[in-house]
């Protein structure tokens, strides 16, 4: 088994921290020739939401700036809370071997509840997790 990741899943909800995480993931994937999967956790009130279409322009800009081939980029939209959906991304059909998240998601309040999603992810994930600090963005 190779020591570097082949599939990098990045939590992406369009927030500034998620953009930073995606930027880091795209730059890293370009160096490693890895595939990037943008993961969106669809909430109870969002069953008809299509983040791939909603964030197409934004993602296109991030991909272009990182020099990443869009052929190696895909989306995975999972139902549930961000923590559960990202953990499931390590299994079929995504099989991520690296998870990348920003320090704080779109709707996440600082410190609530029993630590942020990123910290809980780091505790529970079966694969390595990179938490990209706030402010890591090419904007």
């Amino acid at each position: 088994m190779s020591s570097h990741p082949h599939t990098i899943a990045v939590g992406f909800d369009g927030s500034p921290d998620a953009r930073g995480a995606a930027t880091w993931a795209l730059e890293t994937a370009a160096l490693l020739r890895a595939h990037v999967v943008l993961v969106y956790a669809r909430g109870l009130l969002e069953r008809h939401r299509d983040p791939a279409r909603e964030f197409a322009l934004l993602v296109g800009q991030l991909v272009g700036r990182a020099g990443f081939s869009p052929l190696h980029l895909s989306w995975h939209v999972g139902d549930g809370d961000a923590l559960s959906v990202l953990l499931r991304a390590t299994e079929a059909p995504v099989f991520a071997d690296l998870l990348v998240v920003g320090s704080r998601g779109r709707d996440e309040h600082a410190g609530l509840l029993l630590g942020s999603t990123s910290l809980q992810l780091a505790e529970r994930s079966p694969v390595p997790v990179v938490i990209v600090p706030t402010g890591h963005t090419l904007d």
């Binding site: 909430g43 109870l44 969002e46 069953r47 139902d79 549930g80 996440e108 309040h109 609530l112």
Partner: protein, 346 residues
């Protein structure tokens, strides 16, 4: 038969503009109770505030502290679905306490059917996370209290969403059986057939994930063919129903096609599982169309009280009959796999 319920909660302070989980829901549910004109056959106990000891049977203490502090700090959005206000925390504790009070009264009387109308709803709340509109897992608090009194508790969850919180809380508990019929895929994404319980409670979870468009006959088939044999083997001494009514065809948050008449049929199924009077209680979970909620509460409780007044006709013909066979096969394969692994480990 007597309906044992509680005085309505003062829940107006737990509200957010435009949010579907709103105070009008409970008014609709109570209107459904009033439609039954039960008069002397209606007993209302006073709701009480659940104690910390009662809540920490199912929730982590630090989680309770954080939600309480967040609420009393003015609240806000916890995630994209879930909110709290200043009033949410005392209300949530009283909602959980209302469930305990109803169950205690049922046991004291040894008679009647229980109905609990809490807000916020509960079945998505895990041991340490608020989500899916839920802060405290009301049905789990009641189930844990009954378990600690020596009861074997069946939690039957017919809300259209999988009760991930209840499942997780009792995952490895052989004295609580969790059975859920739900739309899949749909929030919260859990609830596949291969989730069958922890090593100490194999077969302690029965998930019936069914496709969008499923009608009442499909849900009943899944319950009768997949869940009923497991429930029979478990032999519950108490039945709690996570009675969400968002599987109704008019509900805006999901795509099942049930009618109020289907909920009456499901209620009769639940009655048949209870070992006797005073051993069955319905806990309101979801249900976001006010008219459907009112008619479904009325139909459910009427059926549970053996009142055969007419309802909307039960539905049939939706997709999912084939899925029932797949659920059975997937459960069997998973059980065989786990048993083989356990055998290898010996």
């Amino acid at each position: 038969m007597t309906l044992v319920t509680h005085e309505p909660l003062d829940d107006d302070g737990h509200a957010e503009p435009g949010h579907p989980e709103r105070p009008e829901r409970l008014r609709a549910a109570w209107a459904g109770v009033a439609d039954l004109s039960l008069a002397g056959e209606l007993v209302r106990v006073a709701p009480r505030t659940a104690t910390r000891a009662e809540l920490t049977r199912v929730h982590a203490g630090p989680y309770l502290d954080e939600v309480g502090a967040f609420s009393y700090g003015g609240g806000g959005d916890i995630d994209g679905d879930t909110y709290a206000t200043y009033d949410s925390w005392p209300l949530a504790q009283r909602a959980a306490g209302a469930g305990l009070a109803v169950v205690e009264e049922l046991r004291r009387r040894g008679d009647g059917v229980g109905f609990v109308a809490p807000r916020p709803p509960g079945h998505h709340a895990t041991r340490d996370r608020a989500m899916g509109f839920c802060l405290i897992n009301n049905v789990a608090v009641a189930a844990a209290a009954l378990r600690d009194e020596g009861e074997r508790v069946l939690v039957l969850d017919w809300d259209v969403h999988h009760g991930n919180g209840t499942q997780a809380i009792f995952w490895d508990d052989p004295t609580v059986l969790y059975v859920s019929s739900h739309q899949w895929p749909l929030f919260p994404g859990s609830g596949v057939a291969a989730e069958i319980g922890g090593l100490n409670a194999l077969d302690g979870v029965v998930n019936l994930p069914l496709p969008a468009g499923a009608t009442g006959d499909v849900v009943r088939q899944a319950l009768e063919e997949v869940a009923a044999p497991v429930i029979d083997a478990f032999a519950p001494t108490f039945v709690l129903v996570s009675a969400g009514f968002d599987a109704h065809r008019d509900d805006p948050l999901a795509d099942f096609m049930l009618s109020a008449g289907d909920f009456a049929a499901l209620a009769r199924f639940a009655v048949a599982l209870a070992p006797g009077p005073g051993r069955l209680a319905f806990f309101l979970e979801g249900g976001y169309d006010l008219g459907a909620l009112r008619s479904s509460v009325r139909a459910t409780l009427a059926a549970a009280l053996a009142d055969e007044r007419p309802n909307e006709a039960p539905t049939s013909g939706g997709p999912g009959h084939d899925q029932v066979r797949r659920i059975l096969a997937e459960r069997r394969e998973t059980l065989d796999l786990v048993h083989a692994e356990l055998e290898e480990g010996r």
